[in-house]
Amino acid sequence: MTARIQKKDRNARSLALAAVSAVLAAVAIGCGTTYYEIPIETPIQPKMDVSPFQRVLVAGFVAGGNDEIDANQETVRLLRSQLRTKSQLKVIDADLLPLMEVAADSGGGAADEHPSPDNNVNSTQAPGVSLPKQIKEEKDLEPYERLFANTAYWKRIGEEFQNPLIVTGTVLFSPHSRSGYVQRDTEMYDSFGRRVVRPTRMYMERKGFILRPKFVFIDGRTGATMYSESYREEILYNAQQNTPALSSYFELMDRLVPNFLSTLSSQKIKGTRVLLK
């Protein structure tokens, strides 16, 4: 009797073992976890058709927000050098257009000679609107927006430079500070002396800059806006850290330049992905 029970137990155990092995095998078949890292290059099609143009004029920007750097000049210089190396278009070297003066002379942007339905609202605005001399914040830029809808002015500029693609817009580069709790990874040692990294929340006062550019692309043959896009990037440092405004400006522009270029020419964005088996 005892022998029969023992034999029955052994059979049950071996059956259970077989079942567990079969399940594990099926799981192993179903969930292979081998992976391979692979570099990829994602091609991005240009957002605009620039095939009618051989030349590009980075005309200048209505800029402000910070007295330490001339955001207009720096933006023009940076975009021209990027376009020279990373686009097919020939970059026109010309003096910056005095856009703020042009806007002021024409009373917040000259009235359009041939108003289109798109800019009717702008052109009905009475000339002589007062424009802020100093641009400190976003609302100071608003009255200048009308300048980009002034097709007559841009057509004239286009004729002067043999009908290029014109790049203009606004750039606001302003100081910014923020305080509050931030999460940081902190390195510490546990009771066994092992190094561990734990997220900790701490109160910090931080200061930095916000960059808000708006790029406007104008057809130099007609003076009409073809495309425009706005961005916002910010950077914050420890309040004690003293980072020059110019290096922050370039750091922020560095993030935006690929987006700007992808408007005009196809770009390849490099990255790494994980292939699974």
Binding site: K8, N11, A12, L15, A16, A18, A19, A22, V23, A25, A26, I29, G30, G32, Y35, Y36, I38, I40, E41, T42, P43, I44, Q45, K47, T225, Y227, S228, E229, S230, Y231, P258, N259, S262, I269, G271, R273, V274, L275, L276, K277
Partner: protein, 117 residues
């Protein structure tokens, strides 16, 4: 009683596994070949292999993930998004698929700025 239950499980696994394993093995062979050619830069061939793999076994999350990567590399961003979403639907807890998808979305969002006109 325990023995009977174990027997039922063993039999169920034994009957179901071959059919499941056959499709999965065939799909896996295609996936492996695809990985091989993708590593040599032959992405079109990899796409062909991985499309075949998802056709053989539509529940194979890794195949959908690999296909999404290949579509991304070829600039077929809509197809890539769908393939990533399918992979995540099949295996929602897979961190590698999720990470691939997050990186893909970052590029995709970057190329579609919030205020374009």
């Amino acid at each position: 009683m325990a023995a009977r239950a174990a027997l039922v499980v063993a039999l169920a696994v034994a009957f179901v596994s071959p059919t499941f394993a056959d499709a999965r093995n065939d799909a896996k062979a295609q996936v492996e070949f695809g990985i091989n050619v993708a590593q040599r830069g032959l992405w079109r061939e990899a796409i062909y292999r991985w499309e075949k793999a998802v056709e053989i076994d539509p529940t194979y999350a890794a195949a959908h993930n690999d296909l999404a990567i290949a579509y991304e590399h070829e600039g077929m961003l809509d197809k890539a998004r769908k393939a990533y979403e399918k992979a995540l639907e099949l295996d929602p807890n897979n961190q590698q698929i999720r990470q691939n998808y997050e990186l893909f979305k970052e590029i995709n969002d970057r190329t579609n700025p919030e205020k374009g006109s």
